[in-house]
Every structure is written in structure tokens, then in C-alpha cells.
């Protein structure tokens, strides 16, 4: 059992989400930085589908009533060693503190966080207020069961630095053009990819609003279409909204380009004021980037 002594700013239970329910309006969800979450599970010997805690901006203080092995990955947590297995003795506490650089850090516990499955996942869904054990972010006094999902031995060494993603901006984010590229002027994508965009304070798991100084794209109107994580929507006033894992399943703003899956973790770590530059790539390069990260997860460091 783990007791939440302090909850942190916005701490939720996440796993790999509910990827096939968008036809019901349900966002895919899951860890916003899927790579850091996968590494955290890998370090403690959990299967990739194990649930863990996603902390935002500032993390919780947890008290463990049994010996545990945990790992902290993603944005830097000052409270303990990151990217390596940590043994916690029965009765001891773990304090995450203020996360920086980066915005989100992950706490994997060997065995996984065991809250009930809702629609096939343990992830908290904010839009539907269900899942994550409580249908809300964690609060002081919550108690979490630890599961029995430890499949492999925990790693003996820290996760290699060469196999971590950058922790701070400026962020170079790769995109595939479209799907509504034809709702824009011919030079719109070229103008977008040569603009330094700025992350505004309006960011959450649903999406990030970006400011584009000096750039105003004017798209045509479209009929509502399905949306994906990474979709860069352009509003009628020219603002950019990059959708993330808890994105609305459909939307009415045209999408000029879509962030590749391998770079969604970067946007999960971006903070207000950071610079984002988009670079257009083809399918082959996107698949190579994805394979590089999944290949890292299979390595024995």
C-alpha cells in the first residue's frame, strides 16, 4: 500500500490508455510522455502496460508500507535519483518536489499501481472524469495498492544518458504535413516551419496553445473531422493548438500538420515560454524515429 502524504500539483494514474475508443468520443489518454513512462516501467521490471504515476510541475510525497522498488523518469525530480532503480524501505517516504527541467515526471513502482480497469485501462480520463482509481487526480490521504506485475528483474544500472530524450527546450519537433493541408495557402507549411513558436501557459494533457509571433495563417473552414494526438490545429484567428493524448476525438479546425509519435514526449515536457520549431519529415523518417525509441526500450543497458 502507498499512502499519498502530499498530492503534488496534478498527479494522476496513467498507463497506455484506451487507444480504440475514439469512436465513442473517448480520448486515447495514457502517459503524455510515453517514452519516459515506458523506461520507468522497464527500470523496475514491469511490463509496458503497467500503470504508474504521472506528476505535473510538482510531484507528490508518498509513504510506502512495504519494501518497494521505484524509478523516476521524464522531467527531473530533485527528491531522489532519477532514471535508475531506487529501493524504498518499509515505512519510508519518497518526495518528488518541483520538477525542472521538464514538466512531467513518472513514478513507476515494481508491480504496477493497481487501480480498477475502466474501459480497459487504469488511466485517469479528465474529460470523462473516470479511471485512475478515483475519477480525479490524486489527493492527500489517497491509498494506492501495488500490483503483482513485476515481470523481469529490475535493472542494475542507471538508464544510459544516450537513451534519454532532451529535458529542456528549445524543442525541434518533427511533423508530417496534413491531413487538411489543402485548407491553407500554398506557402503556409513553409511559413510555419520557419517560425519560432512559443509555448503559452495554456497547456494540459488535452493540448498546447502556441503563440506564433509574426505568423498568421488563415485557413478555410472545414466540416468536423476526427483528430489525432499531435494534430496542429489552426483556429480562425490564426492561433495554434497542438493536441496531445487527452485530445478531443473530433474537431472543426483544420490541421496543417501532425507531430510524429516519436516527438509527442517532447511536447509533454515543454513549459510555458519554451520555443518550439517544427520541421517537416516524410513517413520513412517518422517510422525510423519511432523504431529508434522502441529499439532503445529493448536494449539491455
Amino acid at each position: 500500500m502507498i499512502e499519498v502524504v502530499e498530492a503534488g500539483h496534478w498527479t494522476t494514474v496513467q498507463d497506455r490508455g484506451r487507444p480504440s475508443l475514439e469512436r465513442f468520443g473517448i480520448p486515447p489518454g495514457g502517459a503524455a510522455d510515453w517514452y519516459a513512462a515506458a523506461v520507468a516501467n522497464r527500470i523496475v521490471g514491469n511490463p509496458q502496460g503497467a500503470a504508474l504515476l504521472e506528476c505535473t510541475a510538482s510531484g507528490p510525497t508518498l509513504r510506502f508500507d512495504a519494501d518497494a522498488v521505484v524509478a523516476l523518469t521524464g522531467g527531473h525530480s530533485p527528491g531522489a535519483a532519477n532514471w535508475q532503480p531506487i529501493g524504498i524501505a518499509r515505512g519510508a517516504s519518497l518526495t518528488i518536489g518541483t520538477i525542472a527541467p521538464g514538466l512531467r515526471s513518472y513514478i513507476a513502482v515494481r508491480g504496477g499501481i493497481d487501480v480498477p480497469l475502466v474501459l480497459g485501462s487504469r488511466s485517469f480520463c479528465q474529460r470523462g472524469t473516470f479511471g485512475g482509481g478515483f475519477g480525479r487526480p490524486l489527493q492527500r490521504g489517497d491509498r494506492l495498492e501495488v500490483g503483482r506485475l513485476g515481470e523481469y528483474e529490475p535493472l542494475a544500472a542507471p538508464w544510459p544518458e544516450s537513451h534519454r530524450l532532451p529535458a529542456r527546450g528549445p524543442w525541434e519537433v518533427h511533423v508530417i504535413p496534413g491531413p487538411q493541408l489543402d485548407a491553407f495557402a500554398e506557402d503556409a507549411l513553409q511559413r510555419l516551419t520557419t517560425t519560432a513558436c512559443r509555448v503559452t501557459p495554456a497547456i494540459d494533457r488535452m493540448g498546447l496553445r502556441l503563440a506564433t509571433p509574426g505568423l498568421r495563417l488563415q485557413p478555410q473552414e472545414i466540416v468536423t473531422v476526427p483528430m489525432t494526438a499531435g494534430a496542429i490545429q489552426v483556429t480562425p484567428s490564426g492561433g495554434l493548438i497542438v493536441l496531445h493524448v487527452d485530445h478531443q476525438s473530433t474537431g472543426g479546425y483544420p490541421v496543417i500538420a501532425t507531430v510524429i509519435s516519436a516527438d509527442l514526449p517532447l511536447l509533454a515536457q515543454a513549459r510555458p515560454g519554451d520555443t518550439v520549431r517544427f520541421r517537416s519529415v516524410d513517413q520513412a523518417e517518422a517510422v525510423r524515429a519511432w523504431r529508434r525509441l522502441t529499439g532503445w526500450l529493448e536494449l539491455d543497458p
Binding site: 465513442f24 480520463c125 474529460r127 496534413g178 491531413p179 466540416v223 476525438s249
Partner: protein, 211 residues
């Protein structure tokens, strides 16, 4: 002509048209059914909406070009006629906070707005945006009003709104910019139910004023 465009590196968007039209929705649903019946290798799931279908795929199994080819093979070979199902009644309390302003904008009385909204059958074009949100169309021209200038931060579960030629039902509490004219007690999202939502595209419904 169907247009297929990448939606990132793990999905393709098939666009069959650019308007809100029952025959376009018919094509989308027919394509969806054909793909579900004989899924091309690597296809994971699909999301229908109005005039387009999103196809998620596993890039470890297939690639965009191969999946696009299997989809385009179906063009002209699907039966786009929609099954005519029964019409579901949605019991409605017409007491929404925007009823009076909609009446003003449309030169109708509130009772006239209710009569016009409740007096027809609607087609469900899409379930999306938020869990269970049900987009229906189309409204008579006279009832077409723009979205609110600034969206509400909280719209209550069961609220019924109108915007443009569409009417919709909020299945969960969420932000929203539609003009709220009523509400229903019908539960349209239940994570414990299978399926978890009340309506699917192609369904038909009508709003029944509570007496």
C-alpha cells in the same frame, strides 16, 4: 472522389466529401463496415465523423501507402445506403439558459423555437469531441444561430444545444460554445456499459418536449 491523407505516422484520414450530407455519412459508414468486415493487415481501429473516416494502423505491420491502396480499392464498391433504424425519443425539458436569446435571434417566441426544434427527426452525424457528445443535423435554416461569442467553461451533463445547422447533446460535463435550449435525463455516457455511449452515427432521434 475519396481523398486519403496522412494524419501523422500512424493514421490515415479518408475524406469522402466536404459538406454535411446524409449520403456522405452513408459512404463513411459503408466504408467503415467494409473495413471492419475484412480488415486490411495492420488496421487497428477507425473513427467515423460526418464525411470522413480516420484509420489508425500499426506502422510495424503495414505502411501508409499499402493501407491507402486497400482503402481506395473499396471506392465505388461499398453500399452507401443507410439502414433505416428506429427513431429514438429523447425526452427534453426545454428550459435552457439560451432559449430566450435564441428566440430573439430567430424572431420566434420560445414556444416557437421549441416547436421547430422538436418538430423533426434528426440524423446522428458524429459522436465525438467529448465522451458521448452526439452531433445531430440538420436544423431548419430559421433556427440557425452562431456559437456563443465566449464558450461556457462548464456545460452540464444532458444539455441540448444548437449551433449553425446542428444540434447536439452534451453527454458529460464539459466546456462548450453551443446555445443551450434544453436538457435530457437520458444517460448517454456510462463507462460501465457496452457500448459506453447511447448513440452512434447513422442513428435517428427526435426530441420530445416534457409535458
Amino acid at each position: 472522389m475519396w481523398q486519403v491523407a496522412p494524419a501523422g505516422d500512424r493514421a490515415l484520414l479518408v475524406t469522402v466529401g466536404r459538406t454535411i450530407d446524409p449520403s456522405l455519412l452513408g459512404q463513411v459508414l459503408a466504408l467503415d463496415k467494409a473495413l471492419a468486415g475484412r480488415p486490411p493487415s495492420g488496421l487497428i481501429s477507425t473513427v467515423p465523423a460526418y464525411a470522413s473516416l480516420l484509420c489508425h494502423y500499426d506502422p510495424g505491420v503495414t505502411d501508409a501507402a499499402r493501407l491507402e491502396a486497400s482503402i481506395l480499392e473499396l471506392e465505388g464498391h461499398v453500399d452507401a445506403a443507410m439502414a433505416v433504424g428506429s427513431v429514438v425519443d429523447v425526452p427534453t425539458q426545454y428550459d435552457g439558459p439560451d432559449l430566450a436569446s435564441v428566440a430573439l435571434q430567430t424572431n420566434l417566441t420560445p414556444a416557437g423555437v421549441i416547436e421547430m426544434h422538436a418538430g423533426r427527426e434528426y440524423l446522428v452525424y458524429c459522436v465525438g469531441f467529448a465522451p458521448g457528445f452526439t452531433y445531430c443535423g440538420v436544423l431548419p435554416d430559421q433556427l440557425s444561430v452562431p456559437r456563443l461569442a465566449s464558450p461556457r467553461l462548464r456545460v452540464a451533463t444532458g444539455s441540448i444545444g444548437i449551433a449553425g445547422r446542428q444540434t447536439g447533446i452534451y453527454a458529460v460535463e464539459s466546456p462548450g460554445g453551443w446555445n443551450l435550449i434544453g436538457r435530457t435525463g437520458l444517460r448517454l455516457f456510462d463507462p460501465a456499459a457496452d457500448p459506453p455511449v447511447g448513440f452512434k452515427p447513422g442513428d435517428r432521434l427526435r426530441f420530445i418536449p416534457a409535458s
